[in-house]
Symmetry: C2
Subunit: 414 residues, 2 copies
């Protein structure tokens, strides 16, 4: 992609009412556009990052035999009344709307009840189990406050997965496989080292559920961390957890975190309430065991923007950067050579953003840094004379002079 | 994918209130699930078709230098008030909702006004033009009636594109390039022969806009067709068009059609109303010229389901079928061989749905036909003995016996 063809521009300032660092950076770099508080459009560069995060998560969900589908945003009142969660007093983030005939509809803030309702059409026998489903869905949540940029949206992208099992053991087994799949996903997203599986408050069925919490100053949560034993506990269950896990409170470190995922063992409660059962091999009606597993896709993007950035701008991990290389041309001969290199990088399938504008080198460098593309190649008249170009890593800021002939091998190794 | 792992099942019946053939077939085959009238979830097979249609359209939009982004579903009242289109009397398909503080929001039934509003941040100079943007967006439209299955949804996927130009000539040029891109897209989607560019009612700026209408008995539109001259006219402008195009009404054939796309020349009206201008090379403020270009992605899927189906079920064109091959195993040795073939087809990147269930051959064949997968391979104990398998084309229904060794070359040629 040529920067000259990109309609977004880097901006000196973000909107005055934008207080979150992630959104300030993403707006300035042209990744997102703020429609209103908590509601952001994803511009071409931002959409590429979202799609890359989705693809990592998709691969890990497929690897544990889950099936991708897309549920609907518009939801029926009757379905949610079965579990008592239609009421705005019980669920305080509903957006509601109405058909022309006055029928009130909900906008999907979650899809647990609609998925269970739908599965009545597809699960009836033990032969239909286990089954796991997931989607990437635009959720709508009527948050009272939305001051955390894309880390807490009123409209945001979530991966939600649901699994259905005939026995508690089978659910437990899948639940544990999901924990491992989540760990692999966060590792690939560059958050592995700072992300902890935490003990969180459970439901009727289990004492604890699990959350994935990433250390992040801008996070809204607090966890207690036992680094040595690799134990992490959410604040709300700290008293119970200390007892249960036989650890002392003094050993725990209090850190600010952002919840990037959660997994929840529903047991049979929701399916029983909603009337979804299966028939076992002897023809008896049985309860199902259900798990629910979420990852906030756009929140993860926000957390990465918060954590992987400096005073100059964003610093994307290689796996989810919108482009791997930012190619800067300087001068006439530099531009001719850069055209060649751009063509060849594109042909080789290396994702490159080519700053072909007639701009000061300093402005190009500043944009490259603000955008956070992992590697910059600078080709100037002088470097062409010397048969060299500059290779700069965004993360370290280090610049090497490399031979023009070595561009491809250097990038392949990076 | 193994059929045994697919959670959907083919159903004998579709919901009693489902009157549209496209939805009846898609529900029975497990492609979609009806949440409510005009609101459908896309199950794994259906989602694959949607994504393939999107990919064809994406490639054609990228080929005319458009940039993909994603706008928001939640929309601001103020933005639509600028053109008078917030009022339910002017636009009768709004779904509206409200923030907790009472602020009323709209749910995106179109994105014309929000896109123009956003572009105030990115277009100011003639140097920023032309620019073209598109998205695949879930639109919400509060249709009074929704009886056409996925051909007229209250929630549906649309590709909408917008282009901004500094001169009328530049817009005209891009408008014509878009017509050609649309034609290529419909051809690749298998609808080329039956899809016509029609004269439709224009706006303040042009006498006519253009629609893409596909001949379809279940369509809600009527066009008048001059097959010889390749002229097609929408009913609402027939009187004007006959005069303008110098054709006689007697020469025209009246056919039922479904609108699968539309393109519209806004001229400067909307940008002027909303206050988006650019500065020309001499520093003068100038009006922009804007075009708007839509393709109903899920509607296209519905039209294809209507047109390409028979009493046995769906008949997907190769390009958008969820899988290319339906592999049927019969008997013990047949299954062993089919396992091998499945493995090899998967390794070769050929998309195959493997019916590995312990089911009667007749049931597997019936499912294969209902699902509409283009090619069926049947491997039975007997065929293994003979070193052969059955190769059946869904469209023609013809079956050939081919050598097991020739499976790959046969599929590659198909």
């Amino acid at each position: 992609m040529r920067v000259s063809k990109l309609f977004t521009k880097t901006l000196k300032n973000s909107p005055a009412d934008e207080v979150a660092k992630n959104a300030q950076l993403l707006i300035r770099a042209g990744y997102v556009y703020k429609e209103m508080a908590g509601v952001y459009a994803y511009l071409p560069l931002g959409l590429r990052v979202v799609e890359k995060i989705k693809q990592v998560v998709r691969e890990e969900m497929n690897a544990i035999d889950s099936n991708e589908l897309t549920m609907t945003g518009l939801q029926r009142k009757e379905v949610w009344e079965k579990t008592g969660r239609w009421d705005d007093k019980t669920v305080d983030v509903w957006f509601k709307t109405a058909l022309q005939d006055g029928t009130v509809l909900g906008l999907g803030w979650s899809h647990e009840e609609p998925i269970v309702e739908m599965m009545k059409h597809y699960v009836s026998s033990y032969k239909d189990l286990p089954v796991s489903l997931y989607q990437f869905q635009t959720k709508m949540r009527n948050e009272l406050r939305a001051k955390s940029g894309i880390m807490r949206g009123r409209e945001f992208v979530m991966k939600d997965m649901y699994s259905f099992h005939s026995t508690k053991e089978d659910l437990d087994d899948y639940y544990n496989r999901s924990i491992e799949a989540y760990k692999r996903a966060y590792a690939r997203l560059g958050l592995g080292d700072d992300t902890y599986v935490t003990f969180a408050s459970g439901g009727a069925f289990t004492k604890f559920s699990h959350e994935f919490q990433t250390i992040c100053d801008a996070g809204e949560d607090v966890i207690y961390l036992h680094r040595e034993k690799n134990i992490a506990v959410n604040e709300e269950v700290i008293d119970d957890a200390v007892k249960e896990l036989d650890i002392s409170r003094d050993e725990l470190e209090k850190v600010k975190t952002a919840e990037v995922g959660n997994i929840f063992n529903f047991g049979s409660q929701k399916t029983d309430e909603m009337g979804l059962y299966y028939t076992d091999s002897e023809g008896r009606r049985q309860s199902l065991y259900v798990g629910s597993y979420g990852i906030g896709i756009t929140r993860v993007m926000g957390v990465i923007a918060e954590k992987m950035s400096d005073s100059k701008g964003l610093i994307w991990p290689d796996n989810i950067a919108p482009y791997k290389v930012y190619l800067v041309s300087i001068g006439e001969n530099g531009s001719k050579k850069a055209d060649e290199i751009y063509k060849r990088l594109t042909e080789e399938g290396i994702e490159v953003l080519y700053d072909d504008r007639e701009e000061r080198p300093g402005a190009k460098f500043a944009d490259s840094e603000l955008l956070g593309i992992p590697y910059r190649l600078t080709i100037s008249d002088r470097s062409v004379e010397n048969g060299q170009c500059e290779f700069t890593a965004r993360k370290s800021g280090e610049t090497l002079l490399i031979a023009l002939d070595d561009v491809f091998t250097t990038l392949e190794k990076s």
